[in-house]
């Protein structure tokens, strides 16, 4: 073992990186971006889940519990009528509500049991958990003074008590896996086309640019559709991810995401010269999107500023669309799903145009 030879390799490596500003930037800049984003997401004073309190109690205890909830800092509770709360639950404005029945005080004093109705939206296990916890905490004061049992009756708008984290993430990941893999594969394939010189050849042929884009799109869409079908079948049949929606609708949304991903790949490959550089897009383009698209952290609980950013990202709508279909059983009659489909479709069209128009410049 020669120290000199080892040192030569080490030095050469560092020299290489000194010229490769891009990789250096990625190496030292990307982690800061990702960590800063994560820090802001988790500590940026994001909002807590919103819930409704319908206090119908004729006695005094209902008011005590309600004000306890309103003072809670783990949920944002507001007094409202039961009908109002149910409407807001359907609109997605509330993550849940609690109904304190007219005989609430009487029951607590006579039967030593409090049995409020807790109704949860149910599509986001994290939010449901926070609300159940807040409700039970609001009763602890009551329980210790009066010695009553707390037996909430929990019902769900979507999902159910067996609905777990995998059901929540699964719905999003069915679309995401396809989106990101197709994106990376297209970008790499396109760069290879360029690196091996065949793109130059294509550009000197009678091929029109839209023909190249369309040909690529169809080719990768075939692969992406097979992959989508596989991912979907595995999720539903092997993992038993919850699905209340139409499988065909999930498939269409996946296909739209795949088409968008192909064109995003073509478009972004313009900003890379090598396959290595294409892979560098992953921490810069993909990771922030995963953090912000509501996949892990619900968009409604993000800090305000990040919510704005999330609502600009098309992926947010794709993820929400997937969840709308799979968790809520949405069909195209739902205005929220129309919005999701519209945004994903619009994004696909946008990147198709971007891909086709930038193709010219990529060659020179």
């Amino acid at each position: 073992m020669s120290r000199r030879r080892v040192a030569a390799i080490t030095r050469r490596l560092l020299q290489q990186f000194r010229r490769d500003r891009r990789t250096l930037a990625l190496l030292f800049f990307a982690p800061l971006v990702i960590l800063a984003l994560l820090g802001y997401l988790l500590r940026g004073g994001g909002s807590v889940p919103t819930m409704g309190v319908a206090n119908l109690d004729t006695g005094p205890l209902g008011g005590v519990v309600a004000s306890q909830l309103e003072r809670s800092n783990t949920v944002s509770a507001t007094n409202m009528s039961q009908a109002d709360a149910e409407t807001k639950l359907h609109n997605g404005d509330l993550a849940g509500y609690v109904v304190l029945p007219p005989d609430f005080s009487a029951q607590a004093q006579q039967a030593r049991v409090v049995a409020p109705d807790v109704r949860l939206e149910g599509s986001q296990p994290g939010l449901s958990g926070s609300i159940l916890q807040a409700v039970s905490q609001s009763f602890t004061a009551l329980a210790s003074t009066a010695g009553v049992h707390f037996e909430p009756r929990v019902t769900y708008l979507y999902g159910g008590p067996n609905f777990d984290t995998l059901d929540y993430f699964g719905a999003a990941f069915v679309g995401l896996v396809v989106f990101f893999l197709v994106f990376v594969i297209t970008a790499v394939a396109f760069l290879r086309e360029r690196g091996q010189g065949t793109l130059e050849r294509l550009m000197a042929s009678p091929l029109r640019r839209p023909e190249i884009v369309l040909g690529y799109m169809l080719g990768f869409t075939v692969l992406a559709l097979i992959q989508s079908a596989e991912v979907l079948a595995f999720s539903l049949l092997v993992l038993h991810v919850h699905n209340s929606g139409n499988v065909a609708l999930i498939f269409i949304l996946e296909a739209l995401m795949a088409i968008a991903a192909v064109n995003l790949g073509i478009f972004l490959s313009m900003f890379a010269r090598t396959e290595f550089q294409a892979v560098q897009f992953i921490p810069l383009v993909i990771v922030p999107q995963i953090l912000l698209a509501g996949i892990i952290f619900p968009v409604s609980t993000e800090p305000r500023l990040l919510q704005v950013l999330s609502h600009v990202l098309p992926l947010t709508y794709a993820v929400e669309g997937m969840r709308n279909i799979m968790i809520k059983g949405a069909d195209l009659g739902w205005s929220s799903l129309q919005l999701d489909f519209g945004v994903v479709l619009g994004f696909a069209v946008l990147v198709i145009l971007a891909g086709a128009t930038t193709l010219r410049r990529r060659i020179a």
């Binding site: 091996q196 010189g197 065949t198 130059e200 294509l202 000197a204 009678p206 091929l207």
Partner: protein, 240 residues
């Protein structure tokens, strides 16, 4: 032009800059059908830039380019042009035949795959995946891709770089055969001995066309015996 038939290539006062560097500086050049025209010059002289501007990959800053009678860029005319890049630009995961068929389809040619592969002696290796072919075979396969649609104009950017002498002789025989059949062939090279096989030559240096003519004319013009000396002498005299 005398016969009324347009030139295969007519470049008039073509200029192109890349930043401060003049890649092409007022190049005027005409290639007729049925001739092999060689562009001879050292590395970085502007040969590739000239060829790329003929197929519309580069838009010149000044001057005009017409190919087969049509002002470039024109996608329709590109269907009658064959272009072989310096590097053997092929799909390494496809077989030789699949590569040639792909380019045939892109250029709208019906068939011709077998003919093209036989032309370059690769028909026996048609099912071999390109990544398993030797360098010389790849060059031939690349040539087959460039001529599968029987182009009227064939542009070859240093087609014989890295090709062994025997194969080089074969390739040149083929270029001359194609020219006899009526195609125009424009080939760039920095190798003097193969320039001798061109019908006409253009000497290019620093983006300028220094001299043009048959081999004999160039030698006479410079008053020397060897083409290499002619090249040196003519580039000196034009620099002065």
């Amino acid at each position: 032009m005398a016969t009324g038939e347009p030139y295969a290539v007519e470049a008039l006062q073509v200029s192109k800059r890349f930043g401060a560097q003049r890649a092409l500086d007022g190049v005027t050049l005409r290639v007729r059908r049925g001739e092999v025209y060689g562009i001879l010059g050292p590395n970085g002289a502007g040969k590739t830039t000239l060829i790329r501007s003929l197929v519309g990959l580069i838009v010149p800053d000044g001057g005009t380019v017409a190919v087969l009678g049509r002002r470039m860029p024109s996608l329709d005319i590109l269907a009658r042009v064959g272009y072989m890049t310096q590097q053997a630009a092929l799909y390494p995961d496809l077989s030789a035949a699949e590569n040639v068929r792909f380019f045939a389809e892109i250029y709208g040619a019906d068939g011709g795959v077998r003919e093209a592969l036989e032309f370059v002696d690769l028909w026996d290796r048609r099912d071999s995946v390109v990544s398993n072919l030797s360098g010389g075979m790849r060059t031939r396969c690349s040539l087959a891709c460039a001529l599968v649609h029987k182009p009227d104009l064939l542009l070859l950017d240093e087609p014989t770089v890295g090709v062994d002498p025997q194969l080089r002789v074969q390739l040149w025989d083929r270029f001359q055969r194609m020219a006899r059949e009526g195609a125009a062939i424009l080939v760039s090279s920095h190798v003097m001995d193969e320039a001798e096989r061109c019908d006409r030559l253009g000497l290019i240096r620093f983006g300028r066309l220094l001299a043009e003519g048959t081999v004999a004319e160039l030698k006479r013009q410079a008053g020397v015996e060897r083409l290499e000396d002619a090249f040196l002498k003519l580039s000196e005299s034009s620099a002065a």
